[in-house]
């Protein structure tokens, strides 16, 4: 069965530190991959997406993610975290040709001053 795993429920980093949020998926075919961010009381905002091509994807707010097919991963990274990045982050996966997307359970990011 298809699944999306975000193994870290909560992560705390210091402001200015680097960040990596993990996402692993289980699919048989080449997926579409997304990262969304949800600030408290807000809807979800698309950070970046991967459909094909260059496996290192740049997104908004200084985020990037790398698709590693062999590891079935699409980890989100940011070299220097800002306090405003505190939010919940969701990885999502879809199969090419289909329109149903599966979301991970989310990772809550806290940023220490």
């Amino acid at each position: 069965a298809q699944s999306v795993t975000q193994p870290d429920i909560h992560i705390t980093v210091s402001e200015g530190a680097s960040l990596e949020l993990r996402c692993n998926y289980s699919y048989g075919a080449t997926p579409y991959l997304f990262w969304y961010v949800q600030s408290p009381g807000q809807g979800l905002q698309l950070l970046l997406k991967y459909f094909s091509g260059d496996t290192l994807v740049q997104g908004i707010k200084g985020f990037e993610a790398e698709f590693k097919r062999g590891q079935s991963s699409f980890n989100l990274r940011k070299p220097s975290v800002h306090w405003s990045d505190a939010a919940e982050y969701f990885c999502a996966v879809g199969l090419q040709g289909f329109n149903k997307f599966y979301f991970g359970s989310g990772t809550k990011l806290n940023v220490k001053p």
């Binding site: 579409y32 809807g43 979800l44 698309l46 879809g94 329109n99 149903k100 997307f101 599966y102 979301f103």
Partner: protein, 112 residues
């Protein structure tokens, strides 16, 4: 509109009552999705509309849930005989192409 609009933003209802949640997608977006986000959970797919095709209802949790999309635009999610386990944030999203949805801010439903 500029974004996906959902109403109401908050809804408190008594157990057993019916509720309707509205989603107004971005103009011209042919695909519309409903998801549910329960406390501490990820997003659960409910239903998907694409143009004039039959909707994908495979995520609806029970026959108390139904959704319509009129004129290829506004969608209404109806929950009949609400139960406490229906309490969640109901999110609507639309897209012009496959992938990369734009989400609304959601409707927080509380069943008391």
């Amino acid at each position: 509109g500029a974004g996906v609009s959902q109403s109401p933003s908050n809804k408190v209802t008594e157990k057993g009552k019916d509720v309707e949640l509205r989603c107004d997608p971005i103009s011209g977006h042919t695909a519309l999705y409903w998801y549910r986000q329960s406390l501490g959970q990820g997003l659960e797919f409910l239903i998907y509309f694409q143009g004039n095709s039959a909707p994908d209802k495979s995520g609806l949790p029970s026959d108390r849930f139904s959704a319509e999309r009129t004129g290829g635009s506004v969608s209404t999610l109806t929950i009949q005989r609400t139960q406490q386990e229906d309490s969640a944030v109901y999110l609507c999203a639309s897209s012009l192409e496959t992938g990369g949805y734009t989400f609304g801010s959601g409707t927080r439903l509380t069943v008391v």
